[in-house]
Symmetry: C2
């Protein structure tokens, strides 16, 4: 087992990669969560639309969405080249934000424009001082240190099906991929983990977010799942594959996590999920001595469950119930 | 870890589920392998086309294909209902075969027509006496005891995304799914493993075969990969999910195996793969004492590899080389 490397400095804010296509018309669970984490109606949100090909249109859409959800202090910025990404006014705008929201589009454009510039550094600084950094689609990918830059879909892992380049590094030890189920990116993330087994692969479905706290806990929100691929113990010949040859990978650990599930990126283990019993309690063994004397047989309910004596688990109940 | 249950009786023949769409025009790797295992040009092959909606057309296509590859003793049968699947002449045909080949189509039709009939029993008997039983697509699924009967595509595991029913049981402890990458059936197989964690999920790509020997070794042939999903250690709340809710599954073990890889279905571990070092040898530590005295430094080749002294591995070579 390689040492788990997914860590964030203490005091850092939440990082919230979103798998793209978050709901903007219905319950807007994901966008509401961004606002909640950023301070509710007192939030100060900066929308960065550099990745998008839609220009100011996408900026205006998010400004209206956040305003409609009760946040009045929303600013859009759109550096288009590294020179603009050095603008002191843009840095000052980020410096006062409680949340940075990066739109979807082309993450290679976003990365080549802002990584290693004053704007990129300001986003990192905002994260370190406790601001929320959220990003959807391309904006999610760039949260990684080793970022998916491009690649093709399909379930089979193949050589060169995906490429990485440097991202913002808000999440270290984690490669984020997005539109995961919808664009069938399983093979691409598998191939990236084969080539980078020190990185945990995190695939996020559309309208789904991974909310990562400073302690390295990832909580899932939204409609789909977050898929986690752990290659720590993988046996692979990926380094021998050429062309379109599928990759041999044996012993990956896989997790599919819907909303409410909490996963520890440092220990690489599930912490909890809705409906799971508390792991800290040992399995119960019930004997006749455990049955409260005044317990009335709940005949109808037991009958309704079709319970057999071999499977019935009798719980202790206080005498007053 | 639950006890691995994938076993076959000693003396039984090879079972060869194929992921569908095996090459019928080019190298025909998969079909040639069926013939090789069945005795080469002396093979006696029965083609069962019950699953197909193409009727005699598909039977004739396979008769011609096998004939073109040098097998003259090929017979097609097509029981259309359970009454026909009791026909003694069909049973006698299977009884003398060295290979049974089941075509693609609708595995629920195939299963409801032959499972538990004299034809179904004859296929099982053929397997037990050492004949090859191969099947493509629907014909692959029916090899399982717990067979995928139907379901929809998509990477996210969801409740009721796949259903199982009784297959021929030639492979026990293994649920076979086919057209795996091409129809994006990852989520469906994950959901089936969530509901049946005692079963190993085996997803087979198109033009790819899993060749399973009596000892429970699975070898991959063909163009794609065989994906294995092991739920022995899974933590899941799949039993609480309803409707279209995605399933929580944590701690699955995953393997993607291209051609040449060998996997043990009983121990659920990779045995070997092309390009992997021999696992039985300990890692080498080279010291100066290991360097043969007459070894001429192969300066150009070492320079070409850009080898550093810290990474160079020196191999012993006989004095004559």
């Amino acid at each position: 087992m390689t040492e788990a490397r997914a860590t964030m400095p203490p005091g850092a804010g939440v990082v919230m990669p979103i798998g793209g296509a978050e709901d903007k018309l219905g319950r807007m669970t994901i966008l509401r969560e961004v606002i909640r984490l950023a301070g509710g109606s007192a939030a100060r949100i900066v929308v960065i639309s550099t990745a998008s090909s839609l220009g100011d249109e996408i900026t205006h859409a998010y400004l209206q969405l956040f305003a409609g959800l009760g946040v009045s202090d929303v600013v859009g910025i759109r550096p288009e080249n590294r020179d603009q990404a050095g603008d002191a006014a843009l840095v000052a705008t980020i410096d006062r934000a409680t949340a940075v929201f990066m739109t979807g589009g082309n993450q290679t454009k976003l990365a080549t424009v802002i990584v290693g510039t004053p704007v990129g550094d300001a986003i990192r600084a905002a994260h370190l001082r406790g601001a929320v950094v959220a990003g959807t689609s391309a904006g999610a990918s760039i949260c990684s240190e080793h970022m998916v830059s491009f690649g093709s879909g399909g379930s089979t892992p193949k050589f060169r099906v995906g490429q990485v380049s440097q991202g913002l590094g808000l999440l270290s030890g984690v490669v984020v991929d997005q539109h995961f189920t919808q664009r069938n990116r399983f093979g691409r993330l598998l191939a990236l983990v084969a080539a980078n087994p020190g990185q945990l692969g995190v695939g996020i479905d559309e309208d789904t977010a991974a909310i990562v706290s400073a302690s390295g806990r990832l909580e899932v929100k939204g409609r789909g799942v977050v898929t986690i691929i752990d290659g720590a113990d993988v046996i692979t010949t990926a380094y021998t594959a050429t062309g379109t040859q599928p990759l041999m990978m044996s012993g990956l650990t896989l997790h599919t996590l819907p909303r409410g599930a909490i996963f520890d990126l440092t220990t690489r283990r599930l912490v909890s999920a809705p409906g799971l019993p508390d792991e800290t309690e040992p399995p119960k063994v019930a004997t006749l001595a455990d049955v409260p004397e005044d317990m009335r047989p709940r005949t109808r309910r037991i009958a309704a469950e079709g319970a057999h004596t071999t499977t019935a688990e009798l719980r202790r109940r206080p005498a007053s119930s």
